[in-house]
Symmetry: D2
Subunit: 342 residues, 4 copies
């Protein structure tokens, strides 16, 4: 069985494992105060071309979102996001469990716009009973989105300006950041560029070559205060924090992170082209490592003898939309096998 259902099917890039094995008997202080974490942070700062940013590496995405968002908001403040946003759909109410409302905006191909944020803020401010409403205080977007689409530099700039206008923090979920930065539908292609366009974002590791781990970059000083206390309180401070440090130290070295993500995106584009040529309908026009394809149920059953996909959505009685993912570990050979059978 060849699996395409997600980008977290295998272990880690071999360079990561090599470094973990090499350093196994070294003694380091716990809780991310070790040389590997320090080195990883330094590399991220260099890539962002910023010195005064804070970097914290946590184990997973939901964990990251709940720690970062609950840390920034007062009890009566909420976070704006697309109705398709991960925190609204597939995090089991993690944000609400920290006491905060997720205020939704209808998505357009997984994205929201500065205009829709502006409208929401005007409605809030014009409401006769705005004191009885949650104060919107943060905008959450995913890069790439849950639909595989990306924001252009211009779109992000306008969103960020709107955020500043209304006193909103802009937070970018980068669970698949590497794949997004390597996509052809955006001109935001480096950590430096994305770090100029928001208050806080994270660099996804789990889905981009690490065993686990996500690196939060805090640009806005207001969001830095006492952050480690919050990490600890939410159960997200790993005792052997160096495990996180080592992985990002390797990934951020010599462009490894970007190279392996580019390779996955290239394979996804090869698959997309083939799907297009064979007349398959795509649910979204994705240029990242996730492709969303509508497949006839009879055909799907046949394919599922050899391949696995993630069932995304029932389209109608006869058709299903599935998600096909490539990753840093996907081989061209396996993609070709799939193409052949499609």
């Amino acid at each position: 069985m060849i699996r395409f259902d997600s980008d977290y099917l295998e272990g880690a890039h071999p360079k990561i494992l090599k470094k973990i094995v090499e350093t196994n008997y070294e003694q380091t202080p716990g809780y991310s105060d070790d040389i590997y974490t320090h080195s990883a942070i330094l590399k991220i700062k260099k890539l962002c071309k910023k010195d005064n940013i804070d970097v914290h590496i946590l184990s997973g995405g939901t964990q990251m979102n709940l720690v970062a968002i609950s840390s920034a908001l007062k009890p009566y403040q909420g976070v704006i996001c697309a109705d398709t946003g991960h925190i609204n759909v597939h995090e089991a109410g993690a944000i609400e469990a920290t006491g905060h409302k997720v205020i939704i905006i209808k998505n357009e191909n997984g994205k929201i716009t500065n205009k829709s944020i502006e409208e929401l803020m005007k409605d809030y401010l014009n409401d006769g009973a705005y004191e009885h409403m949650v104060i919107p205080k943060m905008v959450f977007i995913s890069f790439p989105t849950e639909c595989g689409t990306n924001y252009t530099k211009n779109e992000l700039q306008r969103i960020y300006e709107t955020c500043k206008k209304y006193g909103l923090y802009l937070y970018i979920d980068g669970a698949r950041l590497g794949y997004g930065l390597m996509s052809k539908d955006t001109d935001v292609n480096t950590l430096e560029e994305i770090s100029n366009l928001c208050d806080m974002f994270y660099i996804g590791g789990t889905k981009c070559g690490a065993l686990f781990g996500e690196a939060l970059v805090i640009i806005n000083d207001e969001l830095k205060i006492d952050f480690r206390h919050n990490i600890k309180q939410r159960g997200s401070l790993l005792a052997k924090g160096r495990m996180l440090g080592i992985q990002f130290d390797v990934l951020m070295d010599n462009n490894l992170y970007f190279n392996i993500c580019k390779q996955a995106v290239d394979l996804a584009m090869k698959l997309k082209k083939s799907l297009f040529n064979k007349g398959y309908k795509l649910l979204y026009d994705s240029y990242s490592n996730q492709q969303f394809v509508i497949i006839n149920n009879v055909k799907l059953k046949e394919l599922e003898k050899e391949f696995t996909f993630f069932k995304w959505k029932i389209i109608d009685e006869n058709n299903t939309a599935v998600r096909i993912c490539t990753s840093w570990a996907t081989t061209e050979e396996n993609v070709d096998k799939l193409i052949q059978k499609l």
Copy 2:
């Protein structure tokens, strides 16, 4: 200035004040364990024609909703409601502050249907990652709705059956219950009828003749457990609980609650008819004490010299929708004055 902006502008029905004054020097135990509360509860049980229900009287509506909902749900469970629902819009995130997601369904004139609940549940159960989603466990509806509309017996029955089918509790917010039960667009007209059609509902006092106070009726045994601990924890256990008991003891006596609400609804209908005749456009077809009227801004300014309304919504540059409320305290004289000026 004659005020029509809400139904909580005056004090209380004079019979309530009389009883408060009469009993002022009596000594009673605190925390709702007094003869007046006991008597009020007995009257509510009789009106519901049910003996095995629990009744708790709290001070206000948001308080009631947050206590009732947080008491019923486990951390990872959420409550379904219309996008226009009070808990979704105008309670400042009170439900989320107790850790629970408000899962929204698009309203139709303030209402939701059994079909829309069914669809939501199917989407949830069919989701490939349903374990990563909030479990829907309760449906919240308002009777009457925030738009003044009401559910018919048939609509409620179908909703309740759908709830039972999917293991959802049905909870009815009756902040304006009296006005709803007296409305011509529903055949649910008594406490007994509504108590047969849900797991839990509350009888609104604040907006229906009391100084303050709402009486929760719990029909489903599962929802009764340790409820007073929860009331206390949320800061909702009034020391001089008899104040709540006295008010409901008077309101539930000799049909007072229903009579004063009917009178308010009758005046609202007189106003509605006049609005209709004069060609005003109504935002919703309400048969309860709240009317939502679109008024030209020039005309509105003129009217606001003598009357106050609640600004509901900006329709366009030239028109505004306002809410006009009658209450137990509204006089026909004042309604006539308004009609004259419209």
Copy 3:
């Protein structure tokens, strides 16, 4: 039966009821934006001799504590209090339910000292893993304490200075503030004095002559921000807020609040003297309206034929400590009856 178990057994001072009845048909805006609340706030500001304070009137004490404390603290911050403190014992975990730890200090007759706060802060700061601890950020004390004792001006000053030294807010629970200010064991006797010695305190109404209601005074600017949003979110914003305003407008007028509290304290002192003369042992040396007396169980049973007390503590097989309360409504006649039977 003559009840002495608490100070919330009767309704309200007759002047309050008179004003409620007189104003019943006036139409006022909701949510505490009415002339009576405005007037009450002005009077409180005058009594505090401070212009730049914020005043918010809420319905009850637990409600007040949870709103005030959760509003001031970040998620990973906690509140220090005596092990006997109301928020630690008898509020059903209301503070923890908002996410915050109550950090306890062993009481001395219901009080804590600047020294014990200093020790706690040193232990925190010296802990090798202080980042894994809740950050103490507020001190909570009751005035008078749950044991009826009071802080002197000097004690309060030293506590407040220690708080400032360590960046802690000082918050005073004044559920029985009037009785405390009228007690002979303290030289803090006015609202002005207490408002000089803390960041935030509340003036209890429920137990001091009102039907219900507590007035929060916020002196520290940091604690004022967006406070009404928080009140609303916790379900504590009363629709007919004028009910709260009217009561404090009357109580703060012409020294009524202080006079009725003094009268209750005087009667308690008469009782205390008599208890002392008859050889009863007191649990605490209280000079406020609450007296804690150890009574032989046989004697107690006999007394309970005519009087009620609150059972405070089982002392041993043969003796029980009971709380005897006077209030604004207690008559000298009833106190004399009790004295006679003791």
Copy 4:
């Protein structure tokens, strides 16, 4: 520098790394639904000699405690623990952040007794206002305790019986379980034995040979319901869950977990004997891998040129208590070097 400050200084037992490397390119489903996790669970069931238990492997201890405790309790219920308990001191208020009070009992050498639990429950039930108190619903103990001491079978049995008598769940934090089971001051020495004496416990991996990971064993059916939803909501569901499964699959194989913990305990006992012979005073009489020694500050400074310890407590001006930890990775050579310098 030779480090003795904790038992999480190195990576993982080499057999674990070997298996991680070997399986790196296998494709497995995410979120702990993989063959390695299934195999690890089976082995744990066999060691517990129980078929109907649930096992969930999470990343860390604080995470485990907050997920397990918040999953078991209703909002107004709390968890009893020793004042020295990890959840009370060094988890940054993680339990309170989920809304629950930690109710403390004074420890005796890190332990609590059935008697102290019984007393607390009697005080609760006898309180005149017990409805205004948090309901105690769970007892939390650590095995071994934070002071390195252990409960005997008899002590645990009596605690468990007391818990059952009062309807309390018994939950055991086994962050260092392996070291505890191998200690000479207890006759609880197997997973089977501990699984007979509580409702829920966890097997610590992070401090006992794993890179990270703790395995929760749920014995009581009531605590099993919807547990994965709760894991997800708290951000504790690892995407590449197999990383947790592989580690426990190796540790639970062929007694590895117990053997490496025994070796660490043996070295700690060698150290303890030597400390005793040299006249050092120990803070607690620990038979596990943690030793708490009082050292003169001059001597300490000298030792710190070559070794690191965790500063536990300032004893007086001249003396400090330090924690010295051995682990699965500690060599006899390094222990001998330390002994020589002591």
